[in-house]
């Protein structure tokens, strides 16, 4: 070793590992939110780096809207198994059935409905901390988020009442009922995430790479055509998320840049077949990744509202 110097990825990595170990040491029942998306894929590698050769000392938690890309679910389950972790899945469907989540009339997106499901899971397993893959560069409201983001007993985030975060001294103290969201990737950009995936040779779900897919145009984006509704005894989970007669379907070569669920993920037309291609594409991109998510366009303050209500 000739120089005692970290490059930017090594710096971000050591910062994130430090944060993860603080979580393991300071909380009694932490969980790690793992969706199978690119950010949480990085989280898993960081967890391995933080805790090996021990087991990762926390279960993985995922909230399903019921509109997921099947490829993503397959990948999620497989990764959790490979790492020997316990994966807990809670779904919006179950919550609606139990009466803990209530869809707004006419609203197709289930993004907001993830909130009561997540809060329900936190209560069910008495989690005092959930590690998430959010990054500050994703969105304006996130830019002010802390590494350790305090949530009151209702799971709410109060942007005016955040704990100041000084040096690397994270205040993890909670009273009962309160909990913490922790974001080890706070300082990572989209580019950093892909550079890290490349450096660590991490596998990502194949929907990040270009493939042929039937899409339709809505709200200025290409939305994927959902899988066929096969069981007529049940209501169509994708009702409202299917192309209408005036929304012609086209077969395109597309990929996802950021994954929400099928109903709110805009596909981008692109021809990339490797992580290197993706890095080149992002370097040249003129749209931020959230530009392809329908749920944020509703209003400029959309994310802020969801966060206040307990979103990740």
């Amino acid at each position: 070793m000739t120089s005692y110097h970290l490059d930017h990825l090594q710096y971000l990595e050591t910062e994130a590992i430090h944060v993860m170990r603080e979580v393991a040491a300071e909380f009694e029942r932490p969980a790690l939110l793992f969706s199978g998306g690119k950010d949480s894929i990085c989280l898993l590698r960081l967890a391995e780096k933080a805790f090996r050769p021990s087991d990762i000392p926390m279960p993985f938690l995922n909230v399903e809207t019921g509109h997921e890309f099947p490829e993503l679910l397959e990948f999620r389950d497989r990764r959790a198994k490979e790492l020997g972790a316990k994966l807990i899945v809670r779904t919006v469907d179950e919550a609606i059935k139990k009466g803990t989540a209530h869809p707004a009339p006419g609203e197709i997106s289930r993004n907001k409905l993830q909130i009561p499901v997540l809060l329900g899971a936190i209560e069910e397993f008495r989690f005092d901390c959930a590690i998430g893959g959010a990054r500050r560069d994703e969105e304006k409201a996130r830019a002010k988020e802390r590494f350790f983001s305090f949530r009151d007993a209702f799971g709410q985030w109060d942007p005016k009442n955040q704990r100041p975060e000084i040096w690397n001294l994270y205040n993890a103290r909670l009273n009962s009922g309160e909990n913490m969201r922790v974001f080890p990737l706070s300082n990572w950009t989209e580019m950093d995430v892909w550079e890290y995936i490349k450096k660590e040779q991490l596998e990502v779900p194949n929907i990040y790479f270009s493939h042929e897919r039937e899409c339709f145009r809505r709200g200025g984006q290409w939305l994927p055509v959902p899988p066929k509704h096969t069981d007529p005894t049940k209501p169509d989970p994708f009702a409202g998320g299917r192309p209408k007669p005036n929304e012609p379907v086209k077969k395109l070569v597309v990929r996802v840049r950021t994954i929400a669920d099928m109903i709110s993920t805009g596909m981008i037309e692109s021809k990339v077949y490797s992580v290197d291609d993706i890095i080149t594409e992002i370097a040249a991109a003129r749209v931020t990744e959230r530009g392809s998510r329908a749920d944020d366009k509703v209003s400029e303050a959309a994310m802020e509202d969801r966060k206040k209500a307990g979103y990740f």
Binding site: M1, S3, Y4, H5, L6, D7, H8, Q10, Y11, L12, E13, T14, E15, I17, H18, R21, E22, A24, A25, E48, K49, A50, F51, R52, P53, S54, D55, R136, D137, A141, A143, K144, P159, K160, Q162, R163, P164, E165, I166, W167, N168, L169, N171, R173, L174, N175, S186, N187, T189, M191, I279, A283, A285, R286, V287, T288, G291, E300, A301, E304
Partner: protein
Amino acid sequence: MPHSQHPIELLRFNTCGSVDDGKSTLIGRLLYDSKNLMEDQLEALERSADITGGGQINLANLTDGLRAEREQGITIDVAYRYIATPKRKFIVADTPGHVQYTRNMVTGASTANLSIVLVDARLGVIEQTRRHSYIAALLGIPHIVFAVNKMDLVDWSEARFIEIRDAIEDFLPKLDAFKDVKFIPISALNGDNVVDASPHTPWYGGPTLLNHLETVHIASDWNLSAFRFPVQWVNRPNNPTNKELHDFRGLSGQLAGGTVKVGQKIMVLPSGLKSTIKEIWTYDGKLPEAFSPQSVTLVLEHDLDISRGDMIIGLENLPGMSSDLQARICWMHQRPLQRGNKYFLKHGSQTVQAIVAGLDSRINIQDYEAEIAPPELAMNGIGEIRLKTSKPLIYDGYKTNRLTGSFILIEQGTNQTVGAGMLLPPLEAVKPEYNDFAI
């Protein structure tokens, strides 16, 4: 291209200035001119310009994140921005200038390598300039830039620029802090000397702001002279079936100072027990040597009783170890700090109880004079205190090491973070009782 062959360094900086000095415009300008803005961000900018800006794009809107702020028209918290150029990556803490938000500046500055202090060329040095310089010095930021902004409004006058520079150079020696100081005449609004050199300042021979940010020497900003390793997490796989892992007992943490080698003799504090480094374990393989701020897992030759909160150190350059501490503190809460108050104190990986044994002085950040024995320290106050802790801290003076010399105070009950402390150098180094190696 933000990615390239050679390793890219990361520089963290914060911006400070009082309201309307042009901080938001400057960051917007840096993002815009260094091509770190995307189409949809520009679009949103244009959309909000139609609503609020009378059609004019307002670069400040890029960083004014929260709705509450937009409504009040002020920045109320610390926001982080990310800029990449082919030479470096930057993490920008946009820290607000409102008087009552000193705590946010301390927050943003605590992790910075460099501070940009904005000065309005028309107003010159004001109370806020002195305050921000003081806080940057207090927090041990090695590099400082005074960006004299709105030069377009003083007709690009070199005389005015020099006048301001002289006024600042007048008080800087009192702070006795920075590795390097730069003065740059800019117009954030028009972009002069921000990313591109200005045609309006032929009398200025220095770098543009971005140029300086890309080249200032930061490699030696970490303390590499004395090995400090706060044990964060004890790594015990407890795996009875795997022979190699069965007895594995590692100490995980991040080097808070110095370097460490396999075979090196070390001491564990507070016990004073000594041992030797057997392995530096990482997920990517064992290392012969590690340095601050790497995160690693140390394995020792001897099986000592070590837990979170202990500190592993080298045998030279010993730290202090004491329950009687002296520190500078920045107060961050409405309920003032008073003598006799009790708090939790978090230092490294250790949390102890602390009682305020004395409030020795309060610093007036306008003239940098100390008021002796004030009754209390209110929100945003900075002072010198004495603390007594329930267990000894193993520490260095903040000036020597920003990580082992800092702590936070947490209010008992509400768990609010109420103070940021910087320890004064220990009066004496630790004198361990045990001199033999553990058996």
